[in-house]
Amino acid sequence: MSDLVVNNVSMVFDTPSGDQVEALQNVSFSLKQGELLSILGPSGCGKSTLMNIVAGFLAPTAGKVSLASTELHGPGSDRGMVFQQGALFEWLSVAENVGFGPMMKGTPKEQIKKTVTELLQIVGLQDFYDKPVYELSGGMQQRVALARCLANDPDVILMDEPLGALDALTREKMQSLVLKLWKETGKTIILITHSVEEALFLGEKLFVMAPRPGRIKQQYELPFAEAGLVEDPREIKASTEFISKREEILSMIWDMEEEIMGQVEMAGD
């Protein structure tokens, strides 16, 4: 199976002023094929850095990442990315965006068309096949981004705050879509978010990260994503279990932010 293993990964950035930022310190975890992990943490705690390392855009200063027992160096089509916004190709239509990966591989035209039609059906955009992407709403654009990523049939899907720029209602719908796609495709998914609720609802596993140095502070195994496949999302989010977890995590992050503020104040003195 295509298990993802992150082994003792550390990342130290040299800033131009000569300081060093420890963006990640000895981060280790592993995900089985088909697991859904959400990552939460105050900004600057190394979430994006971790994702970029898994995606292969950054080489860690120490440690390694492997997928299906093969060590990873550089990006590849086995790991698909969904970004917050603006990563679609405006010069291409919806269908051409979705078919980009297969086209790069030289897949025959008819087959690309078939895949694209199918995927647009799944994300509910079958009527927008030939539309330019810049005419779509933010939520629709993220659907295109999801479909584009799936068209390549990656083993792992990496999402860096994919729903961060959407309004609350669209966001809830998209969360359900992510769960549906997860169920139907059986992909391993890592999703970064700054919404505690989203992290709880979408994460089968949830890591809360802490900054300076960036590390995994707390890990959770959660039942909500599994439940979200069948039950009403609104009810799950209103359940006492969900709310108590939410408050627990919120107060943890709150404390972290306080600590950061304290450090900043001390440094300022």
Binding site: A55, M104, P132
Partner: protein, 285 residues
């Protein structure tokens, strides 16, 4: 009624209802979008002032000719030509020079700009050259190019090549720089090779900047070719103006100036139309 509405739309006189109802108009740039009525009035006023002014002989026609005189010269030169060439030949001579010079400037400038945007070595190497030549007005090189290749076509094309080159280098480099890293990352994650990223992401992504550069370069080229023809040429609109001035034929001079203005304006309109057609996503991201 419908017909009037359509005519208004074609000449850009139809206002949209929302804009009309806006109360904050000072500072809201969209609220000043409908100025076409005033433009038409302004042109008519200028024409009337010119006509009446010359009819009342306010100004000596040697300094500024009457519209009739210019019009007569236009008919005359359109029929018989001026100094061995027909009017169209003069216009074509100028256009031909800028087309060749501009095309060469793009052909060299765009790849060089791309290379500079993609490679540290090439950027470092060419930066001093580009930054040095960029602020120099192309006209400053006229004496040099005349020494190099005389007053023939080659010297003018070389001048225009230089005029377009730096603008295009900088536009292409800015185009590469404007690509969002997430687009590049997305492409690599979708399995694209370096070459595919260049061809399918960096190149199309930079088209808006390149096109803006082309519009600027075209404007500079047009100004430069007329000026270059003023100095040394045997044909072209600039040459027409210069030759006429030696005989104090202000009507021909003004005719030439009007033609220069109209063609320059048309080129820009054409480029803008082309831009809207080729790069419909510009400004919408």
């Amino acid at each position: 009624m419908v017909l009037i509405q359509q005519v208004k739309q074609v000449i850009g006189l139809s206002e949209d209802g929302l804009t009309k109802r806006k109360t904050v108009t000072f500072g809201d740039t969209s609220a000043v979008a409908n100025g076409r009525t005033w433009s038409i009035l302004s042109v008519i006023t200028m024409a009337v002032v010119w006509y009446v002014g010359s009819a009342l002989e306010f100004i000596n026609p040697i300094f500024w000719p009457s519209p009739q005189a210019v019009w007569e010269q236009f008919i005359n030169i359109s029929g018989e030509g001026y100094r061995n060439f027909s009017l169209l030949e003069h216009i074509w001579a100028s256009l031909y020079r800028i087309l060749i010079g501009f095309a060469l400037g793009c052909l060299v400038g765009v790849p060089l700009g791309f290379a500079m945007g993609l490679s540290e070595v090439i950027k470092g190497w060419f930066d001093p050259v580009v930054e040095f030549f960029r602020p120099i007005p192309p006209l400053a090189f006229i004496p040099l190019v005349i020494i190099w290749s005389g007053i023939g076509e080659r010297s003018k094309i070389m001048l225009l090549f230089f005029a377009a080159l730096w603008v295009m280098v900088i536009a292409a480099r800015a185009g590469v720089g404007s690509v969002k890293l997430s687009k590049i990352h997305a492409a690599y994650s979708l399995g694209a090779s370096k070459k595919q990223v260049l061809l399918h992401v960096i190149l199309p992504n930079s088209l808006p900047e390149i096109f803006t550069g082309m519009r600027v370069a075209m404007g500079i080229c047009w100004g430069t070719v007329v000026a270059a023809e003023l100095v040394a040429a045997e044909s072209g609109v600039g040459f027409m103006i210069m030759a006429a001035s030696k005989f104090l034929a202000t009507d021909v001079v003004v005719l030439g100036v009007i033609i220069v203005g109209l063609i320059g304006y048309s080129i820009d309109i054409l480029m803008r139309k082309l831009e809207a057609k080729l790069i419909p996503w510009k400004g919408k991201t």
